[in-house]
């Protein structure tokens, strides 16, 4: 089985977000980067499937050279090789075009990724890639088993979940509890250094342009209500905040 796992290089979930250059650029100073938490689930499941069924796991990142630290970590977790498309991932359509372009050069059985990135949270790359390749896309997938050429999955829907079956190849957006996050071990880290990482140049153009960033207005002071008078909250929500 050949699996392609698409990963994002994103600010850590605890990172403080700020902008520079007149609010036109993300301020990377002091920011720790990680593999997107949802992408981490996708990668972990891919490595488990490889252990069960044999095959290869290729990691793909659309990003600049600074992504390589995170790509190496994915190799240490158990991916066999990696491809980086050397460009800033600025627009969903553009990123999907890169993935579809790479994917169309090999016959992948599964193209896995996180349900969404945690920087732009669009949750649309799986669908775009699926349509560009002319194969089904599903998300958010929380359980995935492979039986012959068929994938048996559970997908989260609003207020519950549904069971799904579909033939490979498929594009899937993943989320917990599809697998447990894996931590690289020493052997993995050593071998990751020599695993192949190919860098290719992008194709196509984006269909949106991000012009400016802004931070939300700071929150006003919290109004504290003594526990003995907790009931007053209901009156405040009704008559002051007007949300009841």
């Amino acid at each position: 089985m050949k699996i392609l796992v698409c990963i994002t290089n994103v600010p850590d979930t605890t990172a403080k977000i700020s902008f520079t250059d007149g609010d036109t650029k993300f301020n990377k100073t002091g920011v720790q980067y990680i593999c997107g938490p949802y992408d981490d689930y996708a990668l972990s499941r891919a490595v488990e499937l490889k252990e069960q069924h044999g095959g290869t796991v290729t990691v793909l990142n659309v990003g600049e050279a600074e992504s390589e630290q995170v790509i190496r970590k994915c190799l240490a977790i158990g991916a066999d090789d990696a491809i980086r498309v050397n460009t800033e991932p600025t627009d969903s359509y553009f990123v999907a075009e890169q993935i579809a372009h790479i994917a169309s050069q090999e016959n992948y059985d599964l193209i896995l990724m996180g349900r969404e990135s945690i920087d732009f949270n669009s949750g649309v790359i799986h669908g775009l890639v699926g349509e560009m390749l002319g194969i089904p896309s599903l998300s958010p997938v929380m359980k995935l088993e492979i039986d012959g050429g068929v994938a048996k999955m559970t997908r989260e829907i609003e207020g519950g979940k549904e069971d799904i079956e579909a033939s490979l190849p498929l594009v899937l957006g993943c989320q917990e509890p599809i697998a447990e996050w894996k931590i690289p071990n020493m052997r993995g880290i050593m071998s990751a250094r020599t695993k192949p990482l190919k860098v290719v140049e992008p194709v196509g153009v984006g269909l949106t342009i991000t012009e400016k960033y802004a931070l939300p207005a700071p929150k006003g002071a919290v109004k504290m209500i003594p526990a003995e008078e907790a009931e007053k909250l209901i009156d405040l929500l009704k008559n002051e905040a007007k949300v009841l």
């Binding site: 938490p37 089904p136 599903l138 997908r155 989260e156 549904e162 342009i209 907790a230 909250l233 009841l244």
Partner: protein, 321 residues
């Protein structure tokens, strides 16, 4: 140059979030001097769909083919793309949801359309078309220009202040050309809690964390939610521990909500939790630790024990009714 809104149905009725999308679409149409058509797919009725008129739509296209009764990402995408072509729509508007994400993405690829998700305000037409969207899980915003001829906009809850009118929309049958490949994915079972307020749609949310100590204590959370007519939610460890179902988990790695009121009970307010709830209009925090970080993000706070405070709030609401 028209506007097409993809409306999701729940038990035959247009979902509340989709009514918001229709209203948003009608505001876009007003600005562009054109009209709004709605596409509804699946089981429904003429009466249920004519409601779209109250939110500014003039026409509803209804694809009622029985094969479409179970939502299928691919089939719905094909139908929506066909409707875009049939109406020569420039804008496709929908509300963000897991089905909406998947369908809007495939449609954008079919149409080579600009796609922007998590949009929080009406577009600005002063130079081209730009929208404001939420990024970094609610921690920031971006202004984005849509440069392709066709534009897909997925809105976040509360992107527009809905004003109901008294219009009525005409409902027309829409018979798309479907092929077998659209139904290659088989749904073999659906597990859905019934009779509950849907979390992503809810105006009021009561959420609880590890401070509740165990799943057996959720009665006081549900009682408060029922008294308010609110949906219930929880923190990540609570769903990881299987105290509550996964679809209630909110935060950076869970559902993002932006209700009018979010009441957090026994939740510390970790940055990953806040990321999913910080665009709520009003936040109430109930925690026994006065140093809990959540108080910094709150509008109202009570330093107290949830086992004491929650039942008293429930009583106060019932008494006020």
């Amino acid at each position: 140059m028209s506007v097409l809104v993809f409306a999701e149905l729940d038990n035959g009725s247009i979902k509340k979030s989709s009514l918001e999308a229709i209203y948003y679409g009608s505001e876009v149409a007003k600005a562009k001097g054109s009209s709004v058509t709605v596409l509804a797919i699946g089981e429904s009725s003429n009466e249920a769909l004519a409601i779209a008129g109250k939110y500014g739509a003039s026409k509803v296209l209804w694809a009622s083919d029985a094969r479409l009764n179970v939502a299928s990402i691919q089939a719905y995408s094909s139908v929506l793309a066909e409707a875009v072509n049939a109406t020569s729509a420039e804008f496709v508007i929908l509300s963000k949801s897991s089905l909406g994400d998947a369908v809007s993405a495939r449609v954008s690829a079919k149409l080579k359309a600009s796609i922007v998700s998590n949009v929080v305000d009406l577009p600005d037409f002063s130079s081209g078309v730009t929208v404001k969207r939420s990024i970094y899980t609610g921690k920031a915003f971006a202004t984005v220009a849509l440069t392709a001829d066709k534009k897909v906009i997925a809105i976040k809850k509360n992107a527009v202040n809905v004003v109901e009118g008294d219009g009525s929309a005409s409902v027309e049958n829409f018979a798309p050309s479907l092929n077998d490949a659209d139904f290659a994915v088989k749904v073999t079972g659906t597990h859905k809690a019934s009779g509950q307020v849907s979390l992503p749609e809810a105006d009021l949310v009561v959420s609880a964390g590890r401070g509740l100590k165990g799943p057996e204590n959720w009665g006081i959370v549900e009682d408060l939610a029922n008294a308010l007519g609110a949906a219930t939610a929880c923190s990540k460890p609570v769903s990881d521990l299987d105290w509550r179902p996964h679809h209630e988990h909110v935060g950076q790695t869970g559902i993002k909500v932006s209700p009018n009121l979010y009441i957090a009970c026994g939740i510390s307010g970790a940055i990953q939790h806040l990321a999913g709830v910080n665009s709520s209009k009003v936040i109430v925090v109930i925690n026994k630790d006065p140093e809990a970080p959540f108080f910094k993000a709150a509008d109202y706070g009570i330093v107290g024990d949830v086992f004491d405070v929650l039942p008293r709030l429930t009583k106060a609401i019932q008494a006020a009714k």
